[in-house]
Structure formats: structure tokens, C-alpha cells
Symmetry: C2
Subunit: 203 residues, 2 copies
């Protein structure tokens, strides 16, 4: 066997599957396309991952494992609140550029299968809001920020960061920009979004 590149067929398959599932979703993905992209026979897919469902679950879990640390960067990390918002915003853009379809995929498949979240919750490192909540309330008590529910602030942070990527095709048309200008606009958001948030909450 040529162990230069094909060192690990299983990984090869998972990568191909990621590519296809992330772009087309569970319903739109085709096992044949995944096999082709992995340069293997379709039967081999079923040898490694017994069914489409199981392969999908492997992809989904792998995708979520990449996303979770990003979310934890806001939720469970005890740097200063403002600094944290700045860092998260800056890093998130870089993350999505590296994995353009990932957040959309996770959200999309979760909407179509809401029970799935239960399986994730059980896993180690599932992000929780507790620490963030304490931090926000402390900042309020100290008079650093205006009163706001931690949940609402968190949703605002996430929305402002994730949606411009998920809604890209729609937003691009609405603001009447081509791909290149829109990408520039997104890069500017690395700093603008955090300032927008901090402006709103700081006293």
C-alpha cells in the first residue's frame, strides 16, 4: 500500500465526508460523492462507517468539537470581560475563514433534529454559561457595565459574530456588495463588533 498519502483511509473518508456533509447537509449529501472524493469504493464507506447516519454523526461530533472551544472562549475563560469580547470577536473571524461551512452546518442540522443536542450536552467540554453569568453580574455590581442579563449579552455577542457569515449570500445582496468587498467588511468587523458591543454596555 502506498503509505505516502493514504496512511489512513478512515481519516481520508472522514475528511471527504466532512466536505460533503458540511456543504450539503444530511439530506443533500450522497454516499457516492463522499466515496469519490475519498478516492475509494462506496462499499468501503460502509466497511468503516456502517451507515450514512453513523458517518453523519461522526462528522457532526467532529464539527462540534471544533466549535465548542470557540464558544468556551467567551463562556469559560477568566480574563477581563471587555478583553474577552475583543479577543473572541477577533479570533472568531479567523476560525470561520478556516471552516466556512461549519457553524451553519451545526446550526442547520440542529434545527432539523433538535433532540440531537442532548447527545452533545452529555459530552465533555460542552459549553455552559455559568461562569460567564457570574462574571457579567460582577461587572454590573462593580459599576463597570450597565445592567443586562448575561444570557442576552451572550446571545448578542454570538449573533453579531456568527450571523454575518451564515447570512452571507443574503446580506451581500442586501448591502449590494460583491464577494471581495464583503470579505473586507467582515474583516473590519474583527474590531468593530467588539467596540459596538462594549460601547453599548460600558458605563
Amino acid at each position: 500500500m502506498n503509505n505516502k498519502e493514504l496512511e489512513n483511509t478512515e481519516t481520508e473518508i472522514l475528511n471527504a465526508a466532512k466536505e460533503v456533509f458540511l456543504q450539503k447537509g444530511m439530506a443533500g449529501a450522497r454516499m457516492q460523492e463522499i466515496a469519490d472524493k475519498a478516492n475509494i469504493n462506496k462499499a468501503l464507506l460502509h466497511y468503516y462507517y456502517r451507515s450514512k447516519q453513523l458517518l453523519f454523526e461522526a462528522v457532526f461530533k467532529s464539527a462540534f468539537k471544533l466549535l465548542a472551544p470557540q464558544l468556551n472562549r467567551v463562556l469559560n475563560d477568566d480574563t477581563d470581560l471587555f478583553e474577552k469580547i475583543r479577543k473572541f470577536t477577533e479570533n472568531y473571524v479567523a476560525f470561520v475563514i478556516k471552516h466556512p461551512y461549519l457553524p451553519n452546518f451545526v446550526i442547520q442540522e440542529l434545527s432539523k433534529n433538535p433532540d440531537f443536542i442532548q447527545k452533545l450536552r452529555a459530552e465533555k467540554n460542552f459549553p455552559t454559561i455559568d461562569k460567564f453569568k457570574i462574571q457579567v453580574n460582577e461587572a454590573i455590581d462593580k459599576g463597570i457595565i450597565k445592567p443586562i442579563e448575561a444570557e442576552q449579552l451572550f446571545i448578542n455577542i454570538i449573533s453579531l459574530n456568527i450571523f454575518p457569515f451564515i447570512g452571507e449570500p443574503l446580506l451581500m445582496a442586501l448591502v449590494n456588495m460583491d464577494k471581495e468587498s464583503y470579505k473586507k467588511l467582515l474583516k473590519k468587523r474583527k474590531t468593530e463588533v467588539s467596540e459596538f458591543i462594549i460601547n453599548s454596555i460600558k458605563i
Copy 2:
């Protein structure tokens, strides 16, 4: 024929198709399910709408026709900027409660078929940002709001309003709430989101 309810088969079909397509997307929708939901034979679908693709396009256009006026409420409407942001935010929640899957559907299908936006752009009433841009720049000149690009502000407004619905299953889990509490939180956003935005930009 019982003309009480079945006054118009074509409309009956379109409604059933909307239900199915909006929830399952193009790839996940099944013609049989649409036929069942419309209480008709599958052949009748093809009698009225020749193919799945054409039926899908009818649904998509109809969906976008509902969404466009919502967007135009921010973009093309010459009430005061702050008042506009308040009104839009308040109305948008009501809109999504009435059409829960709609925004997600539009965005999702556009991501999977970005060329599709061209067809929409040609249509009457496609929202454009021009008017909003002028309004924002005037407000900046008058010293009412801090300098900000109109495009960025628009994206912020849309993101803060749409994403909490699209990302509902994920966000619900992250903030550790059940459906009921989350719905309450969303209702609170009717006023909180606009204050969050205005706080950030006002001088």
C-alpha cells in the same frame, strides 16, 4: 366538489409545499409528503407544478415576498432612525412567531444555491440599502450618532434580530434554558435589542 374548503387546489398545494419545504429544505422535502398534506394525489402536484424544482421555486419566491417587506421596514421607510430600529425589532419578533421557519429557509437555500439571489434581485421590491445609507450618514453629520458604516449597522441590526431564532436549538442549550424560558427571553428582546443598538450608536 366540496367548495367549502377546497376552493383552490393550487393554493392548497402551495401551502402544503411551503410547510414541507420550509421545514425540510429542498433536499429533504418529499413530493409524496406534500401531496399527502394537500390531500391530493401525487400526480396532481405535477399537473399544477411540473417538477419539484418548479414547485420549490414557487415556494421560495413566495417566502421571499413575505420577508422582503420586513427588511424594507429598516431600509426604505423614512421615519426617524431610532424609532425605526425600535419598530423593526418589535415587529420582527411577531413576524417570526407567525413564520418560524421562514428566515432560516431563505438563508439556508441561498447558501446552497448562491446564484439564486440574482433571480430575486431582478424582482420588484427587492430591498436595497441606499436610502438607509443616506439616513445613517445624515444622522452622523447631525451629531446624533457616532460614526459607523451604514452597512455595518444594518448587519448588526439584522444579526441581533434574526440569529436568536435561527440559532435557537444551539443557543437554548448554551444558555441552558427550556423552550418556555427561551421564548420569554426572545419576547424581552422586542425592546432590549433596540436599546442595545441605540445605546451603542447614540452620542
